[in-house]
């Protein structure tokens, strides 16, 4: 009996083994993903899968990118990140800047043939603030977009029907704001503001946006192969798209690859047209003409705990710390195109707000001599000759590398200073900083919208992200003036005032900016026109050409 079992197992294995081997010849041919010569599908690598294709539920960059592949909002981004008309054919802004009237284009249709109407936007935006939907990005409509009643609806104080958006007719959408918002049009390309067709949504019920059958497209591509948490999925060109003549790709083939070595090998064997490169691999590929570094808009900075740590309450000590950093050295260690940063708003962001990196050179520079002077003065004021500080850092490659460089530079330049590095999982580190359980924290912030306020808004008194608990009345009043006050409509004056605010942050060394992060990327030479953005949609493929 046992012999028979063994014989069976043996036979089964051999058969299985042979099928495995036998199919090898057919698989390379059947691999559409492997860049067959006839198709001009773009083969895209992503590091993490799609978390949600529901525009009002999605919060991560990958999901936003994919949603935007097949959905157009009122506006879309041009190559420079400026808002240009998409579903909106034209718009009017009232004189007080509080009413936006969008005229929708007549030829915009959903992939089931129904027209895209103003009601689709009203339905979607009401979903975004509906407490039952509990959208994590609801604050894009309230705090940031300042749409009338959004805040009260989120808090459950008003009904969602009272949201300040209405469909005047099928093709006219009217939005009411509490105060003028200078960057409101640039919010319109953010997926939280994308339309959802109510009838279709109701038909799908709980399964909305979980498969090709339960998604509707009104954009350049149509989702045709997808399942939740998929590691590979596909979109094909939308022939009924109003702008279809401009779309040259036949489709997008996405592949989630978490292992950087596998990703690089796949790129080198032409299975991928675009891939991210891990910091350790940069050296191998940096000479390759296909290698690029793309600004990611993230500002990495050190946050000192100004409220609870006596030594860090001393301004001279803080100024010493920020001046003792050699930022050029940090970025050369990272070697991925990251840029040294000496401003509280990162570089290459919001019409290059921080173009002048020497603007606050008196407070923040790579200046060991100045640092030593501040340090001496600070120690004198505190009446001590040595200080030990602890710095909390994410348990990831880049932050650990940066922390090691910072520690050695600080300890070398500032005699008597000892810095202990504590590495923690990111979630723990975030929690510790939020709860004030830290002395120094190495952290980062990515922009939510195309305005310096996405960074400067953090340092107002009692903001949850103001980890150091810094508080300055003048600063609070400038920020208020620029958010809800009279400067909202006077854009040039507002920009100048924001520099005044930034100056306060820098002269008080509220944070020690270190660098603006970049993504090391490989893009095949025959591919052009992928648009990269630090905000909202990181990659846009509508105008991409693959020869």
């Amino acid at each position: 009996m046992k012999k028979r079992i063994i014989a069976f197992v043996l036979a089964a294995t051999m058969v299985a083994g042979m099928t495995g081997c036998g199919s090898k010849s057919s698989d390379s041919a059947s691999q559409g993903a492997a860049g067959a010569a006839t198709s001009t599908d773009l083969n895209v690598m992503i590091e993490t899968g799609v978390e949600s294709l529901d525009p009002q539920q999605a919060t991560d960059g990958t999901s936003f990118e994919v949603i935007a592949d097949y959905t157009d909002g009122l506006m879309q981004m041009d190559a420079d990140g400026n808002p240009i008309n998409a579903i909106a054919e034209s718009y009017e802004i009232s004189e007080d800047g509080c009413t936006y009237t969008f005229k929708l284009r007549d030829d915009a249709n959903w992939s089931n043939g129904k027209p895209v109407t103003a009601a689709d936007f009203v339905f979607a935006w009401q979903r975004a603030v509906d407490p039952e939907v509990a959208s994590e990005y609801a604050y894009m409509l309230s705090d940031i977009g300042q749409i009338v009643n959004a805040e009260e609806i989120i808090a459950g104080e008003k009904d969602k029907s009272e949201l300040g958006v209405k469909a005047v007719d099928d093709k006219t959408l009217e939005v009411q704001l509490n105060v003028p918002v200078s960057y409101f049009l640039s919010l319109m390309y953010f997926p939280t503001f994308y339309p959802v067709n109510e009838e279709f949504f109701t038909e799908c019920g709980d399964t909305f946006a979980t498969s090709p059958e339960t998604t509707l497209s009104n954009g350049a591509f149509v989702l045709d192969d997808y399942e939740p948490a998929a590691t590979a999925f596909h979109l094909t060109k939308n022939e009924d798209y109003y702008d279809a003549s401009k779309v040259s790709l036949t489709g997008l083939d996405y592949q989630v690859i978490q292992d950087s070595q596998t990703a690089l090998m796949s790129y080198q064997s032409n299975t991928l047209d675009i891939t991210l490169v891990n910091g350790d691999q940069v050296e191998q590929v940096s000479a390759d003409p296909e290698f690029n570094t793309i600004g990611a808009g993230y500002l990495w900075y050190v946050s000192p705990n100004i409220k609870d740590v006596k030594e860090l309450q001393n301004l001279n000590i803080r100024l010493a710390l920020t001046n003792a950093i050699n930022r050029e050295n940090v970025t050369s260690q990272l070697n991925d195109g990251s840029l040294p940063t000496y401003t509280a708003v990162p570089r290459d962001f919001s019409a290059d707000f921080s173009a002048d990196q020497d603007k606050f050179g008196a407070y923040c520079a790579d200046d060991a001599t100045a640092a030593a002077k501040y340090w001496e003065a600070g120690l004198k004021e505190l009446g001590v000759d040595s200080i030990t500080l602890e710095m909390k850092v994410d348990d990831d490659d880049a932050p650990k590398k940066v922390a090691t460089v910072l520690k050695s530079e600080w300890e070398e330049t500032l005699p008597g200073l000892t810095v202990d590095i504590v590495t923690e999982p990111k979630k723990q580190r975030v929690q510790d900083l939020q709860e004030g359980e830290f002395e120094l924290g190495l952290t980062r912030w990515g922009p939510d919208y195309d305005d310096p306020m996405t960074y400067l808004g953090m340092w107002v008194t009692d903001c949850a992200n103001n980890y150091g608990f810094w508080s300055n009345e003048e600063y609070d009043s400038i920020i208020a003036e620029c958010t809800t006050g009279e400067l909202c409509t006077e854009l040039d004056a507002r920009r100048e005032r924001l520099y005044d605010a930034e100056q306060l942050v820098m002269e008080d060394a509220v944070i020690f900016p270190i660098y603006t992060a970049a993504n090391a990327t490989l893009v095949k030479a025959n591919v052009s026109g992928i648009e990269f953005h630090p905000v909202a949609l990181n990659r846009v493929y509508k105008n991409t050409v693959k020869e």
Partner: protein, 311 residues
């Protein structure tokens, strides 16, 4: 025998419940939550917690979870695939992981058996040394090293098998991961077979069989291997489950849409329901396999059955 089986089944169910409780507590002790994005306001966080019932006391959450679980409802994902039922996530992924695991075990067992047999029969020759070296390497080198090596040679250099999992060619895509995973099983089985065979070959009944004039093949397959197999089956069972855990890293390297990669992502993003459901499935599989082995063992080996019937 019936009483023994019943007792073992009840213990298994109890163990599973205890595992769910421990998992539940561990998950909630982990730092952060699925929703501790720096950008969420306090009001928002309360709204979200209330929606998913995460603001209830942990005892209430546990009770609700167990009740739902008994109905086959493992809840929805909070993070990695928002609001998707866990059962839907696992449905397509589990067969892929099990498939690769099955190939790996089958390959590993058969090759391991052959290597072990050769080593035992040609004891103290060059063949024995080679087999021993192969099994030492197989046991000590982690599966992801084999995976990377295979991916580089067979996938990247020679392009025989796809480097990335392709659902249109599931079998071809399974070859490299299952070979990488099978190395440990193969090595363990080879070592075990060798030891068992040497013991059996030196036993008195083998001497008797040989003196009766039985031919070499019959002697080895009917008498020696048959007796050596019993303990081998017992070590094979837990190896099957070990493969599941080994597949966590291998799935990442080959971008396989299996449950292993799902579990890793879920742990990193505190997606409670996914982690608990998957850990539960792993535990359940382990317990079921151990249960089956225990019962089978009793059936195969009369001495054990007699022993158990006594209690």
């Amino acid at each position: 025998m019936k009483k023994y089986v019943l007792k073992r089944v009840l213990t298994s169910i109890g163990t599973l419940l205890a595992i769910v409780l421990v998992l539940f507590i561990l998950m909630h002790l982990m730092p952060g939550s699925p929703f501790n994005d720096e950008k969420l306001t306090d009001v928002q966080r309360e709204v979200i917690y209330a929606k998913y019932g995460l603001d209830d006391p942990i005892v209430v959450q546990f009770g609700r979870y167990v009740v739902n679980m008994c109905k086959g409802d493992f809840g929805v994902s909070y993070k990695i695939s928002k609001n998707t039922p866990i059962s839907q996530l696992i449905e397509t992924r589990l067969p892929i992981s099990i498939g690769i695991g099955f190939y790996a075990v089958a390959r590993g067992a058969v090759i391991g058996l052959i290597l072990g047999l050769l080593a035992a029969l040609k004891r103290d020759t060059i063949i024995d040394t080679v087999c021993t070296i192969v099994s030492v390497i197989g046991v000590s080198v982690p599966s992801y090293v084999f995976a990377l090596g295979l991916s580089y040679t067979l996938g990247f250099k020679w392009k025989i098998f796809p480097m990335l999992y392709d659902s249109a060619d599931a079998l071809g895509s399974s070859v490299m991961p299952s070979i990488a995973l099978s190395m440990f099983t193969m090595a363990s089985i080879a070592r075990f077979t060798r030891t068992e065979m040497i013991e059996v070959l030196g036993s008195e009944y083998m001497l008797l069989a040989e003196s009766k004039g039985l031919s070499g093949t019959k002697l080895i397959f009917t008498h020696a291997l048959r007796n050596a197999l019993i303990p081998i089956i017992t070590v094979l069972a837990p190896l099957v489950v070990d493969l599941m855990t080994g597949s966590l890293v291998v799935e990442k390297i080959f971008a396989i849409p299996g449950v292993g990669s799902l579990l890793v992502n879920a742990i990193q993003s505190n997606d409670y329901n996914v982690v608990i459901a998957l850990s539960f499935i792993y535990s359940a599989m382990y317990i079921v396999i151990m249960l089956v082995v225990d019962i089978l063992y009793g059936i195969i080996d009369p001495r054990i059955r007699l022993g158990k019937e006594g209690d």
